[in-house]
């Protein structure tokens, strides 16, 4: 019988530096998110994407709405704006138009972006505003105690659907594509470098881009739907996700117990609001 080497004893090292530290307000860590929540992983993937892009941090601004995902802004050592519920996208629109050289990223949740903020999402996509929208979708309102949201599957139990949800959820990928987003991808927090790649593509793509990140919410959604711990939700992703690039967004519905698509759905080019505006402004005498 092979003898396993004795467990290596660790050294104790002071003044450590996490590889992402330069992007983080480390004096605010650890963050507020629950054990097993996917937000921290999504945030970390976003920071790896920024690292890969090599952008000067002073050219990046992040705007969040309200909710658990809305707290992302507060942990970033960047110009960050934690705005009102649902209004991150119009705030980001103003910021981008006032300072076109800035990379403006909206990082928020499914309830914030698609219920109270749904109108802003479709219109920013329609006008091809040059911002990237990252949506962490945990299928419910986590911070307020686990109420049903615009992505909650039919039948799912939440604190405001105690008998099961009677509403049909949005297919966010299809919604974004239909509204005019020029880049649309979906990943889960289990996707590691695949998620980083999608974020790098979305951030560097000109125009309105959208990445949906499926994430566990064990405290609220997972618990009420008997999905187990965050770990169990990730196992569920591993067993049910089907990686497919270029799929029809209409096929990207998510239903409990059924396979679901992840991958890149849309990657097109079209003129942005700013490009059209600035071209006309130059023509008529202003600088735009």
């Amino acid at each position: 019988m092979p003898v396993r080497a004795a467990r290596a004893a660790p050294e104790f090292v002071p003044r450590v530096r996490h590889p992402l530290e330069r992007w983080l307000r480390t004096d605010r860590l650890p963050h507020i998110w629950c054990s097993g929540c996917g937000l921290g992983t999504a945030l970390s993937a976003f920071l790896y994407a920024l690292d890969e892009l090599g952008w000067d941090p002073d050219t990046v601004a992040v705007v969040s709405g309200i909710g658990c995902a809305g707290r992302v802004a507060g942990y970033l050592r960047l110009d960050t704006y934690h705005t009102t519920h649902g209004r991150a996208i119009p705030f980001a629109t103003g910021l981008k138009l006032a300072k076109p050289d800035l990379h403006v990223i909206v990082f928020s949740g499914d309830g914030d972006l698609f219920a109270i903020g749904g109108n802003h999402f479709i219109h920013a996509a329609r006008r091809n505003m040059d911002i990237a929208v990252i949506c962490v979708n945990n299928f419910n309102y986590g911070m307020t105690g686990g109420q049903l949201g615009p992505t909650t599957p039919v039948g799912a139990r939440t604190t405001t659907s105690p008998f099961g949800n009677f509403e049909h959820p949005f297919n966010l990928v299809h919604l974004a594509a239909s509204a005019g987003a020029t880049y649309v991808a979906r990943c889960t927090t289990l996707d590691g470098r695949r998620l980083q790649k999608a974020l790098v593509e979305a951030l560097s793509h000109k125009g309105f881009t959208f990445v949906e990140i499926l994430a566990p919410c064990p405290t609220n959604y997972g618990r009420r739907n008997r999905l187990g711990e965050g770990l169990d939700e990730l196992r569920y992703y591993r067993e049910h996700m089907v990686i497919k690039h270029g799929a029809d967004p209409k096929e990207a519905d998510i239903a409990p117990g059924k396979p679901f698509l992840v991958g890149k759905f849309v990657d097109i080019q079209k003129p942005t609001y700013l490009e059209l505006y600035q071209a006309k402004a130059r023509e008529i005498g202003g600088e735009g």
Binding site: R25, R28, P57, D58, T59, A61, V63, A73, G74, L76, R77, L78, D79, T80, Y81, H82, T83, T84, G86, R87, I89, P90, F91, A92, T93, G94, L95, K96, L97, A98, K99, D101, L102, N119, H120, H123, Y273, Y277, K280, A281, I284, G285, G286, E287, G288
Partner: protein
Amino acid sequence: MPAKTILTGVHFMNGDEAIAEGAIAAGCRFFAAYPITPQSEIAERLAWRLPQIGGMFIQMEDEIAAIAAVLGASWGGMKAMTATSGPGFSLMMENLGLAVMTETPCVIVDVQRGAPSTGLPTLVAQGDMMQARWGSHGHYEIIALCPASPQEAFDLTVKAFALAERFRVPVLLMTDEVVGHMYERVEIPPEVPVAPRRRPRVPPEEFLPFQPDPDLVPPMACAGEGYRVHVTGLTHDERGYPDMTPEAHDRLVRRLVDKIRLFPEEYTFYEEVQLADAEIAVVSYGISARVSLGGIELARKAGIKAGLFRLITAWPFPDEAIHKLAQRVKGIVVVELNLGQMSREVERAVRGLVPVHGVFHAGGRIHTPEEVFQGIEEVYRRCR
């Protein structure tokens, strides 16, 4: 040839257009709005003008988006404005609070029309005055100015931008349909001072983004300037970090209120007409103040010495000036196009010294001089 930013000279324009030109002259280069009567002339003029002078115009999907974009643009370093009427003003209330809490300079114009609800879209009223003061949730202080002519609409828009930067606040321009649509002579001066933004005076590593100067206003570091500021509508400390303690909350709310309240001489404007010998004072604002002049003339012809105290600053309310007025006259008439809003403030400031009588109309038309005159007569009878 590039378009002129300041249209120096004499113009014949309406109040809405004067607001648009006042904004441009004051350095505003970002305007976001949603169409609504009777504001649309402001948006239409800026959609035409801003692209020609290096500014940004965008028509948003609703008024909530419009004010949110304005806040974003202000943090992007631009002077920014939105304009609306009652229904849109109601939609803006939550983000007005965000502007107060995050100390975001901007200007919000409300061209008032008949209300509640859709009310009288094309007709005048002054029913949003209390909403201007208390419309957003929580306790705060606000500056609101009321022009009574297109010329003053121009001048007060310039003033509104200066106050927004001075105090790092949203400033409200509470005008009305008649002033907005009334065409008059507007003289635009050769130069208009552009109010500077208060900038950080220390390097980023020493900068505390919500650490106020001695006058309680903190310098503002905008996006992309290297200061990496966290801006939140949550109660926050000097670093901008959320602080959920009662002590931090009270400290912050008090500072946001006091930074305005402690400097009334910088924003308290009013006009006195024929008040030197007046026994009866008419207190009014906006278009109602102009109509009141006709009523005062009728009163004087009838042998009643009446005069006008015109509120140019509605908020913060000029308590001291009104209290002093009450010590000089025998009675006060308040004329406004609602059923009694600013009159409550007048009564409060008068503190029972003299009778206060309201000449109210819910809107849809302006008062007649005769109605004002009758109000003056009524108070005159009561205080003899």
